[in-house]
Amino acid sequence: MQITAKSLAGFAIVVFILVVSPYLTDESNLFVLMDVLIAILFATSYNLVLGGAGLLSFGHAAYFGLGAYTVALLQAHLGLPMLVGIALSPIVAGVFALLVALLTVRLSGMYFAMLTLAFAQLIYTVIAEWYSFTGGDNGIPITVPDYFFVTAHYFYLTLGIVVGGVLLLWLIGNSPFGAALHAIRENPQRASFVGLNVKLYQVAAFTISGALSGVAGALSGSLHQMAFPSMLYWTESAQPVLMALAGGIHAFFGPAVGAAIFTVLNFFVASYAGYPLLVFGVVVLVLVMALPEGVVGTFRRWLIRRRDAGSRAAPASRDARP
């Protein structure tokens, strides 16, 4: 989870390109870009649990969906505008994530995965069934203010929130809190021997992750102008897992790269391939089988190996992983 000066520079360049992209590309690509940005926030915040705390959650679609429902329900029942909904989405999603985390962190491994899946399905069921409050399977529309109907305006809103969210996650990863999570992931027993409250850290990571997933969901719901129960269905929970794994869970920007690859792939496969699931499934299979460390992890290893080969005698670079 270490961030190097180089990757930070790369991040700045990517953000700059994104800032000017409304001038470079047309509206259709902006829409795809927004889906990519939202997926990046979702996958990066998800990875705080998987790569950060070493816990496999298989129920993050619930927090993503709760974010979208926060915007929609506040609008439908209290008449609050979209931006207020987006601002409150991390609180609502975070509270649910906290409750689930408190109940689940006592388990580990695949049992933890199963329990997060079960709770997510429970939340899904309530939302899909509670007609009078949520509109049931019909979903609820989200009204977007006129200003944000202009694609570029909504793009900048999305970009600002996603970059802010990713920076926040980066700061968390590099804080003492992140260091403690790292220690717990590497060796939970040793971490508890040196006095770390392992469960507390895991609960905190899960809550933050859920909260920011909620923000991603709020942005997605507002972009597509609706909240639907299918956003919370268990198969959707596989998405951030796949993205994080494809990009690499031990590199901070791995999930972001995975999110970009999968979102674009998903989009084009749905547009042009006759059998989208087949194509998508084969790509996942190949990525997982061939690139165990994900795209970013493999690329970084390749870089390090090349540099090591080039300067075998030289002392280790300060950029190298500890």
Binding site: V20, P22, L30, F31, N138, A152, H224
Partner: protein
């Protein structure tokens, strides 16, 4: 979306990019004359409703082929672009928007699931694109979500529920209901109940059963329905659920003990084959055997020859929907959405099921629905409906006042 996005106004800031953009979008204008008219079709080719979508795509393709073979419209060929929304409303919205913004399609033809229909209708409204719907039928589409570019040739949920009440309400006093636990069937029983009090004030809905969609085991519901001892069971199950229900109810003798009336798709008849019991009252949208006309016979022949399968309700509506859109484009003063919408509104269309027009208040086509009894039909490789009763739209559709009231409530 009002006006152009910011990109266009500030393009001068990045000259090279502007040139690239201009080049990329140049074909749209320069080749407009003689270039194909692009039709966008977002539908659910993946998931449980895939079989309906497949028939829809086939039929739309067939119609386009015929139109193109006859020289196209105003000297231009039609080109179809299909996208797979996979039963996900958000994906449906994304793909439809992409068809409009990137592929520059000119008109839309309807999706599959009602939830995706709602999403597609929203995008069509935002970008002012004419959309003709041929499968979705939630009453919200003609109600609070209505806009002037929207047209439908599907009997709405309201119309079907009322038609069912007309068909079975007069002669049965105790009615038990079973329907999948989702919005459409909750609406169905509500509209059915309201109409029932009009046609037969003595009739009562004595039991309601709500299995979840995709329920594998209907036995508990079947035994409950049997012990309710109704005059008739009204079912809003369809597709895979209806098949499972019928197969499980048969050995319990449900169909010997009580009459059974259900929503029914041609796909269900096809799948069940000889396992379909005789004597069930089926309500169908647009079965090819429901209309006895040379045009329908010709369509069945062409469809079977091309796709090697019997056309379903969705094929009938998809074929007519595409031809309606084509007639609208042909009759319109210009290619603009407003002109085409106006032309479709005035259209007197000669459809497979007879003449068809749209009314102004909700752009609902005056399409019939059908009630009949299951049984062997000559010339069909599976069972069909006999003693078919054609229920005209005019007898069951909501009055304009009702539609306006529905919109005001929301």
């Amino acid at each position: 979306m009002s006006g152009l996005p910011i990109t266009r106004r500030t393009m001068a800031l990045a000259t090279s990019a502007a040139i690239a953009t201009a080049l990329a979008s140049a074909p749209g204008k320069a080749l407009a004359e003689g270039a194909p008219i692009k039709i966008g079709l977002t539908t659910d080719l993946t998931g449980i409703a895939a079989t309906y979508a497949a028939a829809q795509v086939n039929a739309v393709k067939l119609a386009i082929e015929e139109i193109n073979a006859a020289g196209g419209i105003k000297g231009r060929k039609l080109e179809l672009l299909v996208r797979d929304s996979q039963l996900k409303p958000a994906l449906g919205a994304s793909l439809t928007r992409d068809l409009i913004v990137r592929e520059k399609i000119d008109y839309l033809i309807g999706p599959d699931a009602s939830s995706v229909g709602v999403a597609v209708s929203g995008v069509a409204k935002q970008y002012k694109k004419v959309v003709v719907m041929t499968i979705p039928n939630t009453p919200r589409l003609v109600g609070e979500l209505f806009h002037k570019y929207f047209f439908t040739i599907v009997p709405s949920g309201t119309m079907l529920a009322r038609a069912m009440a007309e068909g079975i309400g007069k002669t049965n006093n105790s009615i038990a209901f079973i329907g999948g636990d989702y919005e459409a069937s909750h609406q169905a029983i509500q509209y059915f109940g309201e109409w029932l009090t009009k046609v037969n004030p003595k009739a009562k809905i004595t039991a309601q059963q709500w299995p979840k969609l995709g329920e594998p085991d209907f036995t508990p519901y079947i035994t409950q329905l049997i012990s309710a001892k109704p005059d008739i069971v009204f079912s809003y199950l369809w597709g895979a659920d209806l098949i499972a229900f019928i197969k499980q109810a048969k050995p319990y003798g449900l169909f010997d003990k009580t009459k059974f009336a259900t929503l029914l798709f041609l796909d269900d008849l096809k799948a069940l084959g000889d396992d379909m019991p005789d004597g069930i009252i089926g309500q169908m949208y647009a079965p090819p055997f429901g209309t006895n006309s040379p045009a329908m016979a010709e369509f069945i022949k062409k469809y079977q020859a091309k796709f090697n399968s019997f056309p379903s309700d969705w094929a009938v509506m998809g074929y007519d929907g595409m031809r309606i859109l084509a007639d609208g484009i042909r009759n319109a003063a210009s290619m603009e959405s407003d002109a085409v919408a106006e032309a479709i509104e005035k259209l007197k269309f000669d459809g497979l099921q007879g003449p068809l027009t749209f009314r102004a208040v909700d752009h609902q086509g005056n399409v019939p629905s059908f009630l009949g009894t299951t049984g062997k039909v000559a010339g069909l490789p599976f069972k069909g409906l006999v003693d078919i009763q054609r229920i005209p739209a005019e007898s069951v559709w909501p009055t304009p006042e009702e539609i306006l009231a529905q919109r005001k409530d929301k």
